[in-house]
């Protein structure tokens, strides 16, 4: 509403300031798209570019940065750091995609149901999320790996379970705001099925919220997967995976720091790019609404 958003008019500077933010936004938008695009290319075609990236070279010792033929040196198994980092993109990026999407699907289902049905359904779902939110991730991860073995996909399942209560809460809150609006009541008066109201009428209106959350979750999941790798849960030693490389490189930190630093930078870059993409999309949406 205009009355609540009224701010002090800063005068002629206003349109310039608006143009400025638009330009800055489009720069971050393009930059984040470029980073994500490169990461995707590496994830899809990494195997083709460096077919022998993961081949262990027992004859080679750790080479430092700038060695001939190995721009960033080699790791503890004598593998080229550039090649292994490109090859590691697929394993690093795929897990978090599954986590973020899986958690969104579950969170959307539970959140919509809780907000739309209310009463005991809402109560049950809300208490379930409270329970899950109180679980300590690291401890649970160690227990799960103890029972099921330290596999990559078990780590993914675990993170979906731990992430989905956040999505449930956000979707529930966003839906509760919508559910009392007359357009939803009009849909009830037309006796549309609850599923149709939830998925045709409500979901479309909370989608911007979900999209932002999806991208945020993606960055979080990537970091969480790396953290689990660090604890030895999820990805086995020597696997081409940025999180794992970070840990493995620790042993040779002083011989070749790039073995750890390169994947660390890659994780930070992609996580930032995904977050910034989310921000730009939201800002564009808000602007479209204003017009």
């Amino acid at each position: 509403m205009a009355s609540t958003s009224a701010t002090l008019n800063s005068g002629r500077l206003a349109p310039l300031a608006i143009q400025g933010t638009v330009r800055r936004r489009s720069v971050t938008f393009v930059a984040s798209l470029v980073v994500i695009g490169l990461a995707l290319v590496a994830a899809c075609f990494g195997q083709l570019l460096f077919p022998n990236a993961t081949t262990v070279n027992p004859l080679q010792t750790v080479l430092p940065v700038g060695s001939t033929g190995h721009l960033l040196g080699t790791d503890q198994l004598g593998r080229d750091v550039v090649a292994i980092s490109v090859a590691g993109a697929a394993s690093t990026l795929l897990g978090p995609v599954v986590i973020a999407l899986g958690s969104m699907v579950i969170g959307t289902f539970l959140g919509l149901l809780a907000a739309f049905e209310g009463r005991w359904v809402d109560f049950a779902i809300s208490r379930l999320t409270d329970l899950l939110l109180s679980m300590p991730m690291i401890l649970l991860a160690l227990v799960v790996s103890g029972i099921f073995g330290a596999s990559y996909w078990w780590a993914v399942v675990l993170l979906i379970v731990l992430q989905c209560p956040y999505d449930t809460r956000i979707v529930r809150a966003g839906t509760i705001e919508q559910v009392t609006k007359p357009y939803v009541e009009a849909a009830r008066l037309l006796r549309l099925s609850r599923w149709r109201i939830m998925y045709r009428h409500l979901l479309i209106n909370i989608w911007p919220l979900e999209r932002t959350n999806l991208l945020l979750n993606y960055a979080n999941a990537m970091i969480a997967m790396s953290a689990l790798s660090f604890l030895g849960v999820g990805v086995q030693e020597g696997t081409a995976n940025w999180g794992r490389q970070l840990v493995d490189g620790e042993q040779i930190l002083f011989q070749n720091p790039a073995a750890s630093v390169a994947p660390a930078i890659l994780i930070v870059l992609v996580a930032c790019a995904v977050n910034l993409l989310g921000d730009s999309l939201n800002a564009a949406e808000r602007e479209a609404q204003v017009r």
Binding site: A6, G11, A14, I18, A186, L189, R291
Partner: protein, 594 residues
């Protein structure tokens, strides 16, 4: 406390004020002057730029718009847009803003007394005395201000959430007065209030303006309200001033076709018109304005030359300013035909409401309400907010389940099992939230038509749009592309899609401009005769109910206190409460008498 200044000196002045956004100009070249001790009313429909004009006077324009021109408050003036520092100084010398919604214009987490005291401190700071007010002085000053707005001293320690809408608006007025303004800008100050509160707050504003010798700018879409308190009126249309002069001349004998059309579309309380006078079309959006007189496309007097060049304000012999090529003096009021109201013959009953009771935690919303809606009839329900009229509408529509009592629809008791979509549908108040913002008009209407299943022959979205008088290509539009009136037509089309026999209209025209209100009411009347539709029309506005209802029920605190034929109940009210509601609508006599 009156300021000792000559009445001729100026409270506010705007010279060539223009405001534009990225989409286009919103206000173009508006100039006016408000003497101390006088009230200027600015009237116009939504989209006329009247609210932004008011905000420009206080330097509170939203971000994304740019202003140019000159604004003066008291003896100081500022070249727009002005720096924040310059504005702070100008504001400190006496302009305050009273907003429409008393529910959001006060901070919910500060006590009312503290909020009034902020203005007092501001005044001391601007006065340059450089000394903080003693706590006791503040308390006394706050008490005086509260007394000034007819509130008890105890209100100071209350939070806004504990007060009614009318009381909150008084607190907002007290806070505005605290700064010792020379100009008070009131933007639709009573629109969000009940009729009886509206009158009180309006009288209060007029009295304070007079006692404190301030200038007041009153922004309103309600001509009656402006007529009661303003000395001069500025009529705005699509960002331009179209008529400006003394209130009695402009509003009673308008010379601009737009002002005349606004006057003609006011709904009479005393009689029922066969056809309400509406202004066709809609106010152009900032990007859509063409050259020439912006009103020309909707004007019944328009000539070819009207849309060729901009039409400036020019003085008429009687001194007022009018921007029109055609008009050279007061325009005749249109005389629509009045309907003879007689007692209708008894017909069969479509809906019978029997002893309906509904309570919410702590409130008894309906305390045993019974009424009947005859076939093809239109029944009005009037009452103030909190009277239970909306709960009644929701129970009839099936959105709320009554605690006890029966709803009988054509001999069939309505339960969640026996309800079908072809019995009762509802049109909501706010056309902005009644349509799903992400779904285009066509699919929304198609979905509603499918909802009835095979019970009725399905109407296509195009047929439904034609039924409510909209072009068929609107099927491809999103709700945000439509004006308020157009959205309400779409909402009506959607509710008609499953072929209901009874339409519940809950304040369905309250959020619309007067000219659009008349369009929608005419549409409802047409639909009644065309489709044999029954209406249950809920409203706080007696004049609206007068125009659409054959019979009327007055509801107070969940009980019906008076029922009868509309012309009889409103002509010779039997219950004290009905008389109160009617008298709140009559001109506020005595306001301008010291």
């Amino acid at each position: 406390m009156s300021l000792a200044v000559p009445t001729k000196s100026v409270a506010a002045r705007a010279v060539d004020l223009s405001i534009s956004s990225a989409a286009g100009p919103i206000v173009s070249g508006v100039s006016f002057e408000v003497p101390l001790g006088a009230t200027l009313g600015i009237v116009g429909e939504s989209g006329s730029g009247k609210s932004l004009t008011a905000r420009a006077l206080s330097g509170l324009l939203p971000s994304g718009v740019v202003a140019s021109g000159r604004v003066g408050i008291g003896e100081r003036a500022i070249e727009l847009p002005g720096t924040p520092t310059a504005w702070r100084e100008l504001r400190g010398h006496g302009v305050t803003l009273i907003l429409q919604d008393p529910f959001t214009s006060l901070s919910p987490s500060h006590r009312c007394g503290a909020q009034i005291a902020w203005g007092l401190r501001e005044r001391t700071a601007a006065g340059g005395r450089g000394r903080r007010l003693a706590r006791r002085d503040v308390r006394e000053a706050v008490a005086r201000l509260l007394e000034d707005v007819n509130l008890s001293e105890r209100v100071a320690s209350r939070y806004p959430g504990e007060l009614s809408g009318g009381m909150r608006q008084r607190v907002a007025v007290a806070a505005a007065l605290a700064a010792g303004p020379v100009l008070m800008v009131a933007d639709e100050p009573t629109t969000a209030l009940d009729a009886s509160n509206q009158r009180d707050v309006l009288e209060l504003l007029a009295r304070l303006q007079r006692e404190h010798g301030m200038g007041m700018v009153l922004i309103s879409h309600d001509l009656g309200m402006v007529r009661d308190v303003a000395d001069e009126v500025l009529v705005m249309y699509a960002g331009r001033a179209v008529e400006h002069g003394p209130t009695s001349a402009v509003l009673d004998k308008p010379a601009h076709p737009y002002t005349a059309a606004l006057r003609d579309s006011e709904l009479p309380l005393a009689e029922r018109l066969e056809r309400l006078i509406a202004i066709p079309g809609r106010v152009p959006a900032p990007g859509e304005r063409l050259a020439g007189c912006a009103f020309a496309p909707r004007c019944r007097f328009a000539l070819d030359s009207c849309s060729q060049a901009d039409v400036p304000l020019a003085p008429l012999p009687d001194g007022r300013l009018v921007a029109c090529l055609v008009s050279s003096g007061p325009l005749e009021a249109a005389r629509p035909r009045v309907v003879e109201e007689t007692t209708a013959p008894a017909t069969d009953v479509v809906l019978r409401v029997e002893n309906l009771v509904k309570s919410f935690p702590g409130v008894l919303a309906l305390a045993g309400v019974s009424l009947e809606v005859p076939a093809g009839g239109s029944v009005g329900i009037v009452g103030e907010s909190g009277s239970g009229k909306t709960t009644l509408a929701r129970c009839v529509a099936g959105l709320d389940v009554p605690d006890s009592g029966r709803l009988v629809f054509r001999e069939l008791e309505l339960t969640s099992r026996t309800r079908t979509v072809s019995q009762v549908q509802m049109v909501f108040q706010d056309p902005y939230s009644a349509l799903n913002p992400k779904i285009r008009v066509g699919p929304a209407l198609a979905e509603a038509a499918r909802a009835a299943g095979r019970r009725i022959e399905q109407r296509s979205p195009e047929e439904l749009l034609e039924l409510v008088g909209l072009p068929t290509d609107y099927a491809r539009k999103y709700p945000r592309e439509l004006s308020g009136g157009e959205r309400q037509r779409v909402a009506i089309a959607r509710s008609l899609a499953p072929g209901p026999e009874l339409l519940v209209c809950d304040e369905s025209v309250s959020a619309l401009d007067v000219s659009v209100q008349a369009q929608v009411l005419n549409l409802l009347t047409d639909l009644r005769s065309q489709l044999g539709l029954c209406l249950l029309f809920i409203s706080h506005d007696l004049a609206v109910v007068r125009q659409v209802s054959d019979s009327i029920h007055v509801i107070k605190a969940g009980r019906i206190v008076e029922s009868g034929r509309t012309h009889e109940v409103l002509g010779t009210p039997g219950h004290e409460y009905t008389r109160q509601l009617i008298s709140a609508l009559l001109p506020t006599v005595g306001v301008s008498v010291p």
